[in-house]
């Protein structure tokens, strides 16, 4: 694997390089409108630059090769003139390439803004170290809150209103679009549009403190119908406990400090410091992309969040094994 990557990279060519990747968080494995055009630009610029580098290397190697024969050293006017012409030519070529890049870049910058009407607006709030999401609909009843997992309909423009609530974060889902910072006191926007259904991972790209490394999010692009179903579910209050274990879990959740920071709509838990947990069991990951959501991971996370993600703002709440079991069952049931 390593050898393959090295082989691909050594030529500094983007085309084979792209073939080497194939993951879900990559600027070269692209499924969003602007990321696709960015990839074209990247390949083009990298290709031209690689060519330039190779030309320089050819000149360098030729110069080193040439110098092996012993010739007189005193500069003579004729040679100096030829050298001047060569250097001037190279500088002119540089200027031309640079100008072309500048114009290309300018054109591509304008293309960065995705054309067309925005069809969905989401407030994305960056917090240490998770993403708060608020879907804004045409009327107040259609708005809802969730966290760390953005669902969007395929082929639609989605406008993200980016707000940094504590420090600067940066929203970056490379397979869909370039990054944009979430700056406290300023409102930035980014429009994304997925061309293909899929799960795209993103990660905070601006250093934001202790757990910058664990501040991921997923963007799930799905057909409109699936998206509508999902959104309808999200608007609903949390599922009621169906059995004794989950009922105990809810009670524990409310009796312990948990409810002071988390909201579970439809229950008394209405804290706003941590992520909204109304449908936490239905999200693919917990703790900002750290684990796949399972009953086990929920239990592990609740039991000792500070060992798993040191420095995050969730304290370790002392729970008995029974309480932990019940609560993880309850949380997992919140689909």
């Amino acid at each position: 694997m390593i050898h393959l990557r090295r082989a691909c990279s050594s030529a500094l060519l983007a085309a084979p390089l792209a073939g080497c990747s194939g993951n879900w968080q990559s600027a070269l494995d692209v499924y969003g409108t602007s990321a696709i055009s960015l990839k074209h630009l990247i390949i083009l610029i990298v290709a031209v630059c690689s060519l330039v580098w190779m030309l320089v290397m050819v000149a360098l190697i030729a110069a080193l090769w040439r110098s092996r024969d012993a010739r007189p050293v005193s500069p003579e006017p004729g040679r100096e003139r030829r050298l001047t012409i060569a250097v001037t030519g190279a500088v002119v070529a540089t200027v031309l390439i640079i100008s072309t890049f500048t114009i290309m870049s300018f054109v591509a910058t304008r293309a960065l803004s995705v054309a067309g009407q925005d069809e969905l607006t989401i407030r994305v709030r960056g917090l240490q170290w998770w993403w708060g999401l608020e879907y804004i609909g045409p009327d107040p009843t259609s708005r809802f809150e969730t966290a760390n997992e953005i669902h969007i309909p395929v082929g639609r423009n989605v406008r993200l209103k980016l707000e940094g609530l504590d420090v600067i974060h940066s929203f970056w889902v490379p397979s869909l679009a370039g990054k944009q910072d979430l700056v406290p006191g300023r409102s930035n926007e980014l429009t994304i549009r997925a061309e293909h259904a899929g799960i795209y991972r993103g990660q905070c790209a601006e250093f934001c403190g202790m757990q910058h490394a664990h501040m991921a999010l997923l963007v799930i692009a799905e057909p409109q119908a699936d998206y509508d179903t999902w959104a309808a579910t999200q608007r609903q209050a949390a599922a009621r406990p169906t059995d004794e274990e989950t009922a105990t879990g809810l009670q524990t959740f409310l009796a312990k400090p948990c409810a002071a920071c988390h909201t579970i709509r439809g229950t008394a838990a209405a804290g706003t410091t941590g992520p909204d947990l109304t449908h936490v069991g239905g999200r693919r990951t917990i703790a900002a992309g750290l684990f796949e959501t399972t009953r086990g991971s929920l239990a592990a996370w609740t039991a000792d969040p500070q060992t798993i993600k040191p420095g995050n703002n969730m304290p370790m709440v002392p729970l008995t094994p029974d309480e932990l079991r019940a609560m993880s069952a309850y949380l997992a049931s919140l689909k």
Partner: protein
């Protein structure tokens, strides 16, 4: 960041006087080196908890509101950490709710340390500085109690002055 459960348990066992004013923190508190008074991280976490747990709605920025203020040198239950800890954990008459079931021991200590810092007449080196929000009073590292209420009613309660 992560308090071992046995230590957290031990930190919870404060020895209060019968009137629930004053007392002694558990020995482990001193063994750890009074972390909630001198550690800047704990104090700044305390400041965040102050906002997150709605302390502002009664105590304002420390100058009080429907609840008492912390800046005037008037500590209803004394300025010791244990008293403040007990006030937060168990609540007090006339409206102070108990936070023992809403916060962990670690958090209560952090918050207590911060609350004590607000009312301190000496700016601690470790005290938090201003927040990125509207300014209402000098930040804790500048000893707002001294700046704002120097001529306040301190003499009345000299024995419960702001510096423990």
């Amino acid at each position: 960041m992560r308090l071992d459960p046995p230590i957290a348990d031990a930190l919870d066992k404060i020895a209060l006087m019968p009137n629930r004013i004053g007392g002694a923190p558990p020995n482990v508190y001193f063994v750890l080196g009074r972390p909630y008074e001198v550690n800047a991280y704990n104090l700044s976490q305390g400041k965040r908890l102050y906002a997150w747990f709605g302390c502002k709605s009664c105590h304002g920025d420390g100058r009080g509101g429907s609840g008492p203020g912390f800046l005037d040198g008037w500590w209803s239950y004394g300025p010791e950490m244990v008293s403040i800890f007990a006030s937060i954990r168990d609540g007090r008459p006339h409206g102070m709710p108990a936070f023992g079931d809403k916060m962990t021991t670690d958090q209560i200590w952090q918050l207590a340390g911060y609350v004590q810092t607000i009312g301190s007449y000496e700016g601690k080196t470790a005290a938090p500085s201003r927040n990125d929000e509207k300014q209402t009073r000098p930040a804790e590292n500048r000893a707002p109690a001294k700046l704002l209420f120097d001529e306040g009613p301190t003499p009345v309660h000299r024995d419960q002055g702001p510096t423990p």
